[in-house]
């Protein structure tokens, strides 16, 4: 056996490095995707509330956008980075109205990859304004 193979100096460092490159990405995956799911839930909840409000106001009103921005901000989401679609923009009594939100959540896993996860939420309500 050669002297190099028998020499175990630095072996602990090598093994620790190997372990860290596997364990750290796993830990960060749990944290990052957990955070993404939490944000998705918050965005879904804001979408449902906005759909109800849009139905109450009869369409895409500035008040709905303002309400949505406040709901998102309260959930720790930057509303400027969320695209909002309210269709149709004006509804009558008993007509369905759909509110859709779309955002991108950045996920970064050390040693593996960095990407963005698309988060989409939609809810349908019904117009309550008798025009």
């Amino acid at each position: 056996m050669t002297k190099a193979l028998r020499d175990d100096r630095g072996l602990a460092t090598l093994e620790t490095t190997f372990a860290i490159t596997i364990l750290v990405p796993l830990l960060f995956s749990v944290l990052e995707f957990g955070s993404a799911l939490e944000r998705w839930l918050a965005q879904d909840a804001a979408t449902v509330q906005a759909a109800r409000y849009a139905g109450e106001l009869g369409g895409d009103a500035p008040d709905v956008r303002r309400f949505l921005a406040e709901e998102l901000r309260a959930a720790g989401i930057d509303s400027d980075r969320v695209s909002v679609d309210i269709t149709p923009s004006r509804v009558g009594w008993r007509e369905p109205i759909r509110v859709s939100l779309s955002s991108a959540y950045p996920v970064s896993i050390p040693f593996l990859f960095s990407t963005t996860v698309p988060l989409r939420s939609s809810a349908i309500s019904r117009g309550e304004v008798n025009r």
Partner: protein, 163 residues
């Protein structure tokens, strides 16, 4: 002194990591699937809540004008079922069955006047109420790959009354 391979602990951390890493990966996959299931459960709950709310908002205008009393519209059950299907349709990739089918199988009940007792839950309603009780099959492919159930059945119960 010469050591046998049993006594030699060089590389043991590497071996341990290689053994533990697949277990941790499985745990990670399970955690992510549980998270996705939680999102699906929240969406289904919101779908049922919104459907009952829409149905409850549909009041009998003639009765309201005549007596001032809140009374559900005669089509409240159909409206609740229709909107439950619409809301579930937005999450159709998560579901194991078509949203229309799930909504048709749901137990939707309207109690147009109060007080009323729910025939399913025994709850007393002091206002006109719409109730949805449904079993929604959600795809859980990671659980399936881990020899668990590939489809998880979520039970949802939602009631709404006007104020």
């Amino acid at each position: 002194m010469s050591r046998s391979w049993v006594q030699d602990d060089r590389g043991s951390v590497m071996v341990l990591t290689l053994v533990v890493a697949p277990l941790l990966l499985v745990a990670l996959a399970g955690v992510l699937q549980l998270g996705a299931l939680r999102v699906a459960a929240a969406r289904i709950r919101a779908a049922a809540d919104l459907a009952t709310l829409v149905a409850v908002n549909d009041q009998d205008d003639a009765e309201l004008a005549r007596s001032g009393a809140l009374r559900l519209s005669s089509d409240a059950v159909d409206v609740a079922r229709e909107y439950f299907a619409r809301e579930l349709g937005l999450s159709s990739p998560l579901l194991d069955r078509p949203s229309d089918e799930i909504a048709m199988a749901a137990d939707v009940a309207a109690y147009p006047s109060a007080p009323a007792y729910d025939t399913r839950t025994g709850a007393r309603y002091d206002r006109p109420t719409v109730r949805i009780a449904a079993e929604v099959p959600v795809r859980t492919p990671v659980f399936g790959a881990l020899a668990l159930r590939p489809v998880t059945m979520l039970h949802v119960l939602a009631t709404s009354s006007p104020r």
